[in-house]
């Protein structure tokens, strides 16, 4: 089979999974009984509650993005470029809020602070802790791309303080822009935390229109500004933050020696970890109160947990396979319109999960596709569409680092494209495939908003079960369920860390 034929098939499949439902939803909102009409869009200009929520979302996204980026850049430099003690451990700890479902953190903080935590600043605080790791990780990633000679040359003339300001920070400017925009988009489309902390934001509106009134045309119209913001931000990002992704080995990086600041900064980072990570988790342990709560939670969560793990494993496998294939298409620029594939995958990731969930319902809820809609297959399609960007981007970081000469050498040895793919590219990418699988697993496992809309009867997952319990369940039971959920999420990360440690020891 020809390379372009096979990969054309992959693109067609991904189009049906992701883009087509959204396009159908958009066209559906423009037609009423077969006639073109813009009546559904009147809601955007006439509904004051909607306009108010739009303003709220914008303000929320701006505040969260500014706070997360400002603090995240500083922490990223500290953790990724200095001789701070236990920097790797701190990084790992600070990533925890990103990988666990954000509404669990909202529940924990709300429980600690009580009623006054509800509202704008409560949502800002929770989302700040959730998205802070994005700014940290993006900064660390870009720092690994700085040619050490550029800083060495500057260090011959000045101290680190000025070099950081005049050389390092300008060189990682794309990271600052990229982190800000990414956090802005994610905060703009966030649903579960705002919903739990009772702050009216725009993404909840499309959900309300759909779930309460079943008015999908109004739901689509209400989501249009979100799509517009996401598309605009991605368009800007293309010009501002093109990632080169050529990494310098950590050992060659020019590290900042903290000297007398080493201890105070160590204590400062420790304090941040204690505050943002340990405190909410401890709250859950404290709230669980007794072993009975755990036993009760274990008994009640067993089925949903089993289903969650199974769906997450299947989702992660699909995400790894298609993430690899789409990264291959984008990296090799197999089609002239590869940027469209790249952009669509990113757009789906950035769109609110509620919107994508509604699009999937409208597209698959038909008698002849009931074998998908009425089974967990619909969840797998949802996970694949929503999180493909993650595994695609992770795989791309490796593909750009495989020298073209390795492929050319294979071609001269008589290898066809699939021989090269199978014997050269795939084995060289196996580590990022594993990382992609773990990331896919975690994100499929923690997914809540889309799953609430899509899960077939009798197939609820643990996050859905916890979310429904939050409305009127016992606090100790909810806390125990949250701890079970966190453990299930963090276990694969632990395995990955152990695997990497063992591999480094072997090497």
């Amino acid at each position: 089979m020809k390379e372009r034929t096979l990969f054309g098939g992959v693109v067609a499949f991904l189009f049906v999974v992701g883009a087509l439902p959204l396009l159908m939803m958009l066209f559906g909102s423009l037609y009423d009984n077969g006639r073109f009409t813009l009546t559904a869009y009147k809601v955007l200009f006439t509904n004051t509650a909607l306009l108010e929520s739009l303003k709220n979302s914008f303000l929320l996204a701006l505040t969260v993005a500014t706070a997360s980026t400002s603090v995240g850049i500083g922490l990223g430099i500290l953790l990724g470029k200095s001789d701070l003690r236990f920097a790797k451990f701190f990084t790992l700890m600070l990533v925890i809020p990103l990988v666990i479902p954000p509404y669990i953190l909202a529940f924990s903080w709300a429980d600690l602070f009580g009623e006054w935590f509800f509202g704008f600043w409560g949502v800002v605080f929770v989302l700040f802790t959730v998205y802070l790791p994005i700014a940290i990780l993006v900064t660390m990633l870009y720092l690994r791309q700085i040619d050490p000679h550029l800083e060495e040359a500057a260090l011959q003339m000045s101290s680190w303080k000025k070099v950081l300001w005049l050389v390092t920070l300008p060189l990682i400017r794309p990271a600052i822009v990229f982190a800000f925009l990414l956090v802005f988009i994610l905060a703009f489309g966030e649903f579960s935390v705002a919903n739990f902390l009772r702050y009216p934001v725009f993404s909840t509106q499309s959900f309300v229109y759909f779930s309460a009134f079943y008015d999908f045309r109004a739901a689509t119209a209400a989501a249009l500004p979100i799509v517009a913001v996401v598309a605009m931000v991605f368009w800007m990002q293309r010009f501002l933050a093109e990632t080169k992704m050529h990494f310098i080995p950590a050992s060659l990086m020019q590290k900042i020696r903290l000297l007398k600041w080493r201890l105070p900064l160590f204590l400062f980072v420790l304090l941040i970890v204690m505050l943002f990570v340990i405190t909410p988790l401890s709250m859950l342990v404290f709230k669980t109160n007794s072993m009975e709560s755990f036993l009760e939670a274990g008994e009640k969560a067993l089925d949903p947990l089993g289903r969650s793990l199974l769906f997450a494993m299947l989702g992660a496998t699909l995400l790894s396979v298609f993430g690899f294939l789409s990264a291959y298409i984008i990296h090799k620029r197999l089609f002239r319109w590869y940027r469209w594939l790249d952009g669509s995958i990113l757009l789906l990731f950035a769109l609110p999960a509620s919107l994508f969930g509604i699009a999937l319902i409208l597209f698959w809820n038909r008698p002849y596709t009931n074998f998908i809609y009425a089974t967990p297959l619909i969840l797998l399609i949802g996970y694949l569409g929503k999180y493909l960007a993650l595994t695609t981007k992770i795989t791309e970081t490796k593909l750009v680092q495989i020298p073209q000469n390795l492929m050319d050498a294979a071609a001269l040895s008589g290898a066809s494209w699939y021989h090269t793919l199978w014997y050269i590219i795939l084995p060289l990418s196996k580590e990022v495939l594993l990382v992609g699988w773990v990331v896919g697993f975690i994100f499929s496992l923690r997914e809540n908003t889309m799953t609430m809309l899509l899960y077939p009867p009798g197939s609820d997952t643990l996050p859905v079960y916890i979310f429904t319990q939050m409305a009127n369940g016992k606090a100790s039971l909810i806390a125990a369920l949250c701890l079970i959920m966190i453990t299930a999420t963090l276990l694969p990360l632990l395995f990955l860390w152990l695997y990497n440690t063992a591999r480094r020891r072997d090497a």
């Binding site: 020298p403 000469n405 390795l406 050319d408 050498a409 294979a410 071609a411 001269l412 040895s413 008589g414 290898a415 066809s416 021989h419 014997y423 050269i424 084995p427 060289l428």
Partner: protein, 217 residues
Amino acid sequence: MIILESIDVSFDEQPILQDVHLKIADKERLVLLGSSGSGKTTVLKLIAGFVTPDRGKVFIDGQLASEEGKILMPPHQRDVSMVFQDLALWPHMNVAKNIAFGLKIQGMPKKEREKKVHDILSMVGLEDAGKKRIEQLSGGEKQRVALARSLVLSPKVLLMDEPLSSLDPALNVRLRTQIVKLQEELGFTLVYVTHNEAEAKEIATRVVSMQKGKIVE
């Protein structure tokens, strides 16, 4: 015989090769000599089928292999092998697997493959290195593995892109002698790229100089 006829190549509208004419006879040891950026490597990639000419034609053994904007004969059908400047050894395979890769793709039975790998490793003086991982080898050993991998398919033409540039002078001299000896023994055509005049003179039966994308002598 390889013929390059009126070749122009450009990347991002930057001319790399301009009106290149070159004939390479069978069993010749041709050295392309020139400074970096003179277009030597592009000539090799053009012959190998990795670069498409913007103008002109490439003939291999009388067959049209590439012409303006098209590669008519894919790399593996050209009976050409190449030793890359960075050697391009596959890091996830051991020495024997690197060498046996092309034979495996051809469908050669395992036993036959193993014998052939053993023979070629003996030829380059690395009889016991088959099971070693690539990162365990010295620079000179890696160079010889790359050479063995290229020769195991018995190509008619071997292209070498500054393969010895990263080695120390003594090893460089030893290996160029070995390359000449192997070429004489096996009778392949050698197209060798270097910027080192002494190296060129020692290896070549003919030296062609390149400058700014043109052949100057």
